[in-house]
Amino acid sequence: MSEQEFLEKHSELVYNLAYRLTGNQSDAEDLAQDALIRCLKALKNFRGDSALSTWAYRITVNAWKNRVRAEKSRGFWKTVSFGMLGGEREDDEPEWEPKGNDKPLDEDLEKQGEAGVVQKALLQLDADDRAIVVLREIEEKSYGEIAQALELPEGTVKSRLFRARAKLKTILEKAKK
């Protein structure tokens, strides 16, 4: 498959996954471009042991998890907002504020309606659980394909999907009250 063909077939799939994983457009675009460039670089080495889309999903999820890990290690040591302490505010701002230019998702929730509530609920799942739910419910991948994409045993996918759904159920029920 040529690079152009790959991009035509998989760009939107990768972008959709990136959007559901990150929750906002600018981060999704950044992640999707990062993932697609990695896919194009590795395309000639693709061995065909999974569907090309599954392979692309794996690269996308790995790229996203690397970002999550980097963010976590920066914020590992407990920090406080300087303004909360009531002292003289310095010129400094936390380094890890989101870079996205679009408004925070919360501000659009009213306009987005139920979709916004569900997206917000998704963002409360941890990295692997979020990826499993999106790949199952939105991309309609089988347990086996999800296991390949995330490099997890199939049994783990099954139990984690169940727990993620249970958690989403709790969050959505609370949101409706």
Binding site: L7, S11, E12, Y15, N16, Y19, R20, Q25, A28, E29, A32, Q33, L36, I37, L40, S73, R74, F76, W77, K78, T79, V80, F82, L85, G86, G87, E90, D91, D92, E93, P94, E95, E114, A115, V118, Q119, L122, V133, V134, R136, E137, I138, S142, Y143, K158, S159, L161, F162, R165, A166, L168, K169, L172
Partner: protein, 434 residues
């Protein structure tokens, strides 16, 4: 309804059960209203997520992707150091610049003749005291190696073995002890006519003498050794061992003074097999700066090598921890960075960029056990030096500064004094927790 049944229900929803399991679940569903309600709830969640709208690619996405691919494919190849190496490279380049600047700007009193008063030994120009081996003489005046020519070696006793042992290794650095060589035995009275060098300065490197037939020296029954040493700054002659010792002592004092001014606590020789020399990286050494004042805990930021060494000495063995604590905390501290919220005199913060530096601060504070592990490849440790019970409450990493909040009491674990923050060159501030 147990957890296992619920999990099977989720898989049933996805059509992921084997035939026998599917039939078993269906039988259960037929019997149980709760199970059916649970299944409906799962379906509702699934529908909610499936109902999220499909996103189209944003306008211009493919163009931006191509642009980014082009930029990444065409960016210039620079040799980029891994992050862990950058502090070392910065420290080395700073050290080179500092050495060059120092070399060009050092005041005259740091010249190698510091301490040389010319009174304890006679400085004799080789032009005034001919040496039998003209070749050897020429080499001395040019500040060459002390190795005598083969002819000179064959004819003259060059070095007394016992004498050589006391000299140590010769180094060609100003102020280092010089290796004196017994070049000739001449009559004591022949030296009286020699020119005694006055003043503090050794003669400037004498001009090379043309080789000439040197008159043989008169040797008398009473002979005294003449010791000659050469360095790149000129020649030194001593007419006795006492004079030789006095010369070396003066030069050594000058060398120590130079070291103090440069802020060097110890020069590590290549043969030094101590763990300190082997393991401490140059980055660690160069980063540890000595404050201009006499040893004190000094500025917020980095511990000086002298301070750490002094504190180490104070806590060997560990029973001297209280003395070490005094050394660390009693030196009077003002928070130079933030006078308005100055830390009390008992508390300082020290930055450690390596396990050795953190250990040194830990031991220096007289703390038991080992300090907590820090990943120094990406982080640096801030260590709170202060009274027992103090600890770090939080850290805040800003764009330009790292703020460490602390309390003076209430902590029982010594590890509370250590916090890890992302490695950077940012200024470290110390503030009491609100």
């Amino acid at each position: 309804m147990n957890e296992e049944m619920r999990e099977r229900l989720s898989a049933y929803l996805d059509g992921a059960l084997g035939e026998s399991e599917r039939l078993a679940v269906e039988a259960q569903l037929a019997r149980s209203e709760d199970l059916r309600l649970e299944l409906e709830a799962l379906k509702a969640v699934s529908r909610s997520v499936k109902g999220l709208p499909r996103q189209k690619l944003p306008d211009g996405f493919m163009a931006r992707l191509e642009s980014r691919r082009y930029r990444e494919a065409n960016k210039k190849e620079y040799w980029i150091l891994p992050p862990a190496m950058r502090p070392l490279a910065f420290a080395l380049s700073t050290a080179v610049v500092a050495l060059v600047v120092w070399d060009h700007t050092r005041p005259p009193e740091l010249a190698p003749t510091a301490g040389w008063d010319g009174q304890s030994a006679k400085v004799v120009s080789t032009a005034d005291r001919p040496v039998a081996d003209a070749d050897f003489a020429a080499r001395i005046t040019q500040g060459a190696s002390l190795e005598a020519s083969p002819a000179a070696k064959a004819e003259k006793p060059v070095l007394d073995a016992k004498f050589a042992k006391t000299l140590g290794r010769r180094v060609d650095a100003p102020g280092k002890p010089l290796e004196f060589v017994e070049t000739d035995r001449v009559a004591a009275n022949s030296l009286d006519g020699a020119v005694a060098g006055g003043g503090a300065a050794a003669p400037a490197a004498p001009k090379p003498e043309p080789a000439r037939e040197a008159a043989p020296l008169k040797k008398q029954a009473t002979e005294e050794p003449v010791f000659t040493a050469a360095s790149d700054k000129g020649s030194y002659h001593a007419s006795s061992e006492e004079e030789r010792s006095a010369i070396n002592e003066k030069l050594y004092e000058g060398f120590e003074a130079e070291k103090k001014k440069m802020g060097i606590a110890r020069i590590i020789e290549k043969s030094d097999e101590s763990k300190d020399a082997r393991d401490r990286s140059l980055a660690d050494m160069m980063e540890l700066r000595v404050p201009a004042a006499a040893p004190a805990v000094g500025d917020t930021g980095t511990a000086s090598l002298a301070q750490v060494s002094a504190v180490r000495g104070a806590v060997q063995p560990r029973q001297k921890a209280s003395r070490a604590m005094g050394a660390l905390s009693g030196a009077g501290a003002k928070n130079a960075d933030s006078p308005a919220s100055a830390a009390p005199a008992a508390v300082r913060v020290v930055t450690a960029r390596s396990a050795d530096a953190l250990s040194a601060a830990w031991i220096g504070a007289g703390l038991a056990g080992d300090p907590p592990k820090v990943d120094f490849s990406t982080q640096m440790a801030v260590f709170l030096a202060g009274p027992a019970g103090c600890g770090v409450t939080e850290t805040y990493v800003g764009k330009k500064t790292v703020t460490v909040f602390y309390r003076l009491e209430g902590f029982t674990a010594p590890s509370a004094r250590v916090a890890a923050v992302p490695a950077s060159d940012k200024r470290v501030l110390l503030k009491p927790a609100p």
